[in-house]
């Protein structure tokens, strides 16, 4: 299965900018389908980014984050060629993990 996570991490020397795009429906549980039935809540709750064994960014999300979520942040350090580890877990307990090389 292809990863649901796409990450671009770019080092500028002193800092590393990280952009992540994740495939996920992010159903809030407030929307009805065409038959008028509520689409059950299904959204990522936690997303973490690890570099060099340390947590560099962590998100707690609700159903108010857009479908196929996008997030951008920057951390100090990060060397070209090093790996960044990205993981998420959703409200149904599903999870995905990937690594991305810093460019």
């Amino acid at each position: 299965m292809a990863s649901t996570i796409r990450v671009r991490a770019t080092s500028s020397g002193e800092t590393t900018e990280v952009q992540a795009l994740i495939q996920h429906p992010m159903d809030s549980g407030f929307v009805k389908d065409s038959k008028g039935e509520i689409i059950p809540a299904h959204f990522i709750q936690q997303l973490t980014f690890e570099y060099d064994g340390k947590n560099v960014f962590a998100a707690d999300w609700g159903g108010g984050i857009s479908k196929d979520p996008y997030v951008k942040f920057t951390f100090k350090g990060g060397k070209k060629g090093d790996e960044l580890k990205i993981s998420w877990v959703d409200n149904k307990g599903a999870t995905d993990t990937t690594t991305a090389k810093i460019q």
Binding site: N55, F57, D60, W61, S66, F73, K76, G93
Partner: protein, 162 residues
């Protein structure tokens, strides 16, 4: 063994059990999940269910926020599509530990809370859903205090459907 140690151990055991259950999905090497979850703060389930700005702030932080011009909230004046509203925040405040986004008129007010470890810049960009025209508030926790900035975003087509 102290109570603190006991509860930490217990949590790890529970997370381990969760990881075992997930092996059935086959897309995750064993051992990654406990490390990930242990590095994470507990998910603030209650805060995400609150229906007003004040209740979210109380549940999440237990203190009041003071408006600050050092918090820069970047949001569109008008969002044509409430399903995808790009919002970003940055701040010149020091010792930032977390950043949270709130939309007053959404069914659940709290959208996201980002935990910012030392060494990570206090700036985040993301895309959020808005049910209708609403005040958008960003909270920045810095040096143990809570600061805020807000802006009204007009929504022409709501993002939360029927």
């Amino acid at each position: 063994m102290s109570d603190v140690e006991f509860s930490a151990t217990r949590r790890l055991i529970l997370q381990g059990a969760g990881a075992v259950a997930l092996i059935g999905l086959g897309n995750l090497p064993f051992g990654l999940t406990p490390a990930l979850a242990a590095a994470n703060d507990k998910y603030p389930e209650d805060a995400f269910k609150q229906k007003s700005d004040a209740d979210v702030i109380k549940t999440l932080y237990g203190k009041t926020a003071e408006p600050s011009d050092k918090v820069k909230l970047d949001a569109p004046e008008i969002a044509e599509n409430g399903a995808v509203v790009p919002i970003s925040v940055s701040t010149t405040l020091a010792d930032v530990t977390s950043i949270a986004f709130l939309v007053s008129e959404n069914p659940n007010v709290l959208i996201a809370k980002y935990n910012i470890p030392a060494g990570t810049m206090p700036a985040v960009a993301n895309r959020i859903k808005m049910a209708k025209t609403s005040n958008v508030t960003v909270l920045v926790e810095a040096g143990g205090k809570l600061y805020s900035a807000n802006k009204e975003v007009k929504v022409t087509v709501g993002g939360c459907g029927g």
